[in-house]
């Protein structure tokens, strides 16, 4: 489905848009307050960008260092070239440990690789424990926002959903609904043989996985089950523990406007022989799935710096109107328009990079200063010129028209002729305001008038009466 079609249905849903806009506005307000508390904010962004760039530029070395330290501490590192690979690795670990029940905490990459569906086919249901993810799992939907996956559901929606699917009495009180989830999931945490989590960061120098959360479900997922599996994109590494200081200041404030989230877990290896609780096995699955290709591309490697804060989504007016599902994949909003084509090319709508006015609001809030509009322009160039992919037929036509246009603009005489022809055409089309332009310009007049053609262009006016002036 073209994004035009999916977005129209989203635009028709006034309720969804209202909710989404309320929520994103609140998040941005809170973000502004949290950022204002940090006078060195711009310096931190610069540092964060520099750290990420330097890490990615030597990623091979850091990956080896990371693997060495995880292994030293008793963990195991697995390498997955693509999503299917990663799923199979998880399945093998589950089989080797006779795993029947799995709990999961939030992991965007697990959605990217379709892990839940894969495991279900293998007879293992992975229960989502993040409250928002749990809600959408019960609903059978995909997350629509990086930070708040069930943002598109009102409390009444959730009340009805739980009443229907979980057979509890209807309530729309968020506290009661959360309490229900707590009780329901406690049992799962205690009974599961395997916990699967994502990771916000991986520290190369110590082999530490860092998980940032508010609910405590990631702590439970990574503490109670005897086997812990971490799914991590290779771009998540930072060189040292000290580097985390910058990111742990930027991420919570940018994402939810908190000075710090309720919990940050630093997990280094499985539990030590003398520790009383914690998983006996730790597996880290490092995932490529298109990231190495991005790394090789001088423009797209910038996009790999993303720390998944969600601020670009919250500030994007396009996202605010069309919602997360229009993006065709796990990643939505401005960064979704870049990660989608790179990591989920099969489901990412091909015109996604064009669905932006390049307003730049996203780049202003990005904690690692990714030039999102610049990267979108790059993807548009790729789409139009076929540098790395086939050019779609309608793009070929657009390019032909652009070529003709450029030809007309390339010299003043041709420009003059073209503008006369256009003025005549417009005059034929309307008196006092054009209400319908012909294809392919009809999109303009779908929702707005086109100006009535002026009598003469500015330069013809100048030529006639008003010549160069000197006073």
């Amino acid at each position: 489905m073209s994004i035009d079609a999916t977005s129209r249905s989203a635009l028709d849903d006034d309720r969804l848009r209202g909710l989404l806009q309320q929520v994103t506005a609140r998040l941005m307000e809170k973000r502004a307050a949290a950022v204002a508390e940090v006078p060195e904010w711009e310096d931190l962004r610069e540092r964060a960008r520099a750290i990420k760039r330097a890490t990615l530029a030597s990623l091979d070395g850091y990956l080896i260092e990371f693997e060495t330290h995880v292994t030293e501490r008793g963990g195991q590192v697995h390498w997955a070239a693509d999503g299917a690979d990663a799923c199979r690795i998880v399945e093998k670990i589950a089989a080797a440990n006779h795993v029947r029940r799995v709990v999961k905490s939030k992991s965007m990459v697990s959605e990217e690789i379709g892990l839940n569906a894969f495991l279900e086919q293998a007879g293992l249901k992975a229960v989502e424990t993040d409250f928002g993810e749990y809600i959408i799992q019960v609903a059978g939907e995909r997350p629509s926002h990086i930070i708040a996956p069930a943002i598109h559901k009102s409390r009444a929606d959730v009340g009805r959903l739980f009443a229907q699917k979980l057979k509890i009495g209807y309530t729309d009180d968020p506290e009661a609904l959360a309490a229900h989830a707590r009780v329901a999931l406690r049992g799962e945490f205690c009974a599961a043989q395997m916990g699967i989590s994502g990771a916000n960061f991986g520290v190369a120098a110590t082999g530490t996985i860092v998980i940032v959360e508010n609910e405590g479900n990631a702590r439970l997922t990574t503490t109670l089950p005897p086997v812990h599996v971490v799914l991590m994109g290779i771009e998540k590494l930072v060189p040292s523990v000290g580097d985390l200081g910058v990111f742990l200041t930027l991420l919570p404030r940018n994402a939810t406007g908190q000075a710090m989230t309720s919990y940050v877990s630093f997990i280094t290896g499985p539990r030590r022989p003398d520790e009383r609780s914690g998983p006996g096995q730790l597996h880290v699955v490092l995932i490529d799935n298109g990231r190495i290709r991005m790394l090789a591309d001088p423009i797209m490697r910038d996009v790999l710096m993303c720390i998944r804060c969600g601020a670009c989504q919250n500030t994007c007016p396009v996202y605010g109107h069309i919602g997360g599902h229009s993006y065709g994949g796990v990643y939505a909003g401005p960064i979704g328009s870049l990660l989608g084509p790179a990591l989920e090319p099969r489901t990412s709508p091909p015109d996604l990079p064009f669905v932006s006015t390049l307003c730049g609001a996203c780049a202003e809030v990005c904690p690692v200063k990714i030039d999102i509009p610049g990267a979108l322009l790059y993807l548009r160039w790729r789409a139009m010129t076929g540098a790395t992919e086939k050019v779609l037929p309608h793009r070929r036509l657009q390019r032909v028209m652009m070529r003709a246009w450029a030809g007309a603009m390339a010299g003043p005489r041709r420009y003059g002729v073209a503008s006369r022809l256009m003025a005549i055409a417009l005059r034929l089309l309307a008196r006092g305001g054009v209400r319908r332009l012909p294809r392919p310009f009809h999109g303009w007049t779908e929702i707005r008038d086109f100006p009535a053609p002026p009598g003469r262009s500015f330069r013809r006016d100048l030529k006639r009466g008003r010549d160069e002036r000197s006073k």
Binding site: T129, I151, R182, T249, R271, I292, P298
Partner: protein, 238 residues
């Protein structure tokens, strides 16, 4: 895969980040504590200051009475002398009329079902964010601060540092990431805002967090907040 990464970055030269700004201006310990208290309370933790371990024990007793707690688990980790976890267990047993060891070696499922309060020591506090740092070790430090709905943490005043950067540096110096499989930053009780951004306290982690700052040295000059000292005085009924 490493080879693939190596090829991808082969022509890429990048300068590292600029050297970090000089050390932050020194903040007085009293100001650090004030900031910690303010930020921790803003994150919905209940914070009090106790004089010495004895004062802390009194405060714990007060809390347990307030909560009418019966089942308490204690992490035996991270208690540095002269803090004596045996004395802590005694006090708890008095309050709850149950031995703290009753849940000690049971399964997580049992603890999840029965334990009401978990008591742990904290290694550090971060003033800028009101955060506690709890480290796992041989005798616990993971589930005690996670499974029971109430978590009580004792933090020596002298261990409150200013910033996240400071605490990470301290943890690195302590080689804590080698020693503990899990180091956890805790800021207030657990929460979610997944439904319409409505803040709900207490989801999967604890619903209530009590932080008892223990003033082990000669009391620093604290500005304002006398009520904290007031509450910690023994015999004051909290």
């Amino acid at each position: 895969m490493i080879a693939g990464v190596r090829r991808a970055v082969s022509a890429w030269r990048e300068n590292g980040p600029p050297p970090a700004a000089g050390p932050a201006p020194r903040v007085s310990p009293a100001a650090l504590v004030d900031r910690f208290v303010a930020r921790a309370e803003a994150a919905e933790a209940f914070v009090s200051i106790a004089s010495g371990f004895a004062g802390a024990l009194q405060r714990i007793a007060d809390i347990l009475f307030e909560l009418d707690a019966r089942q308490v688990i204690v992490s035996d980790d991270g208690w540095e002398p002269p803090w004596d976890v045996a004395r802590l267990s005694d006090v708890i047993e008095e309050c709850t009329m149950r031995p703290t060891s009753s849940l000690h070696d049971t399964s997580a499922a049992t603890i999840a079902k029965f334990a009401y309060v978990g008591v742990t020591a904290a290694a550090y506090g971060i003033a800028d964010t009101g955060t506690l740092v709890v480290c796992s070790g041989p005798a616990g430090g993971r589930i005690e601060s996670l499974l029971p709905p109430v978590h009580i943490a004792l933090l020596p005043l002298s261990r409150v540092v200013a910033s996240v950067a400071d605490v990470l540096a301290a943890l690195e110096r302590d080689r804590q990431f080698d020693r503990s499989s899990a180091v956890t930053f805790i800021t207030g009780p657990s929460r979610t805002a997944d439904i319409e951004l409505i803040l709900t306290i207490g989801v999967h982690g604890p619903k209530q967090l009590y932080v008892i700052l223990v003033n082990d040295s000669p009391p620093p000059q604290l500005r304002g907040n006398d009520r904290h000292l007031h509450a910690a005085r023994p015999g004051n009924g909290g």
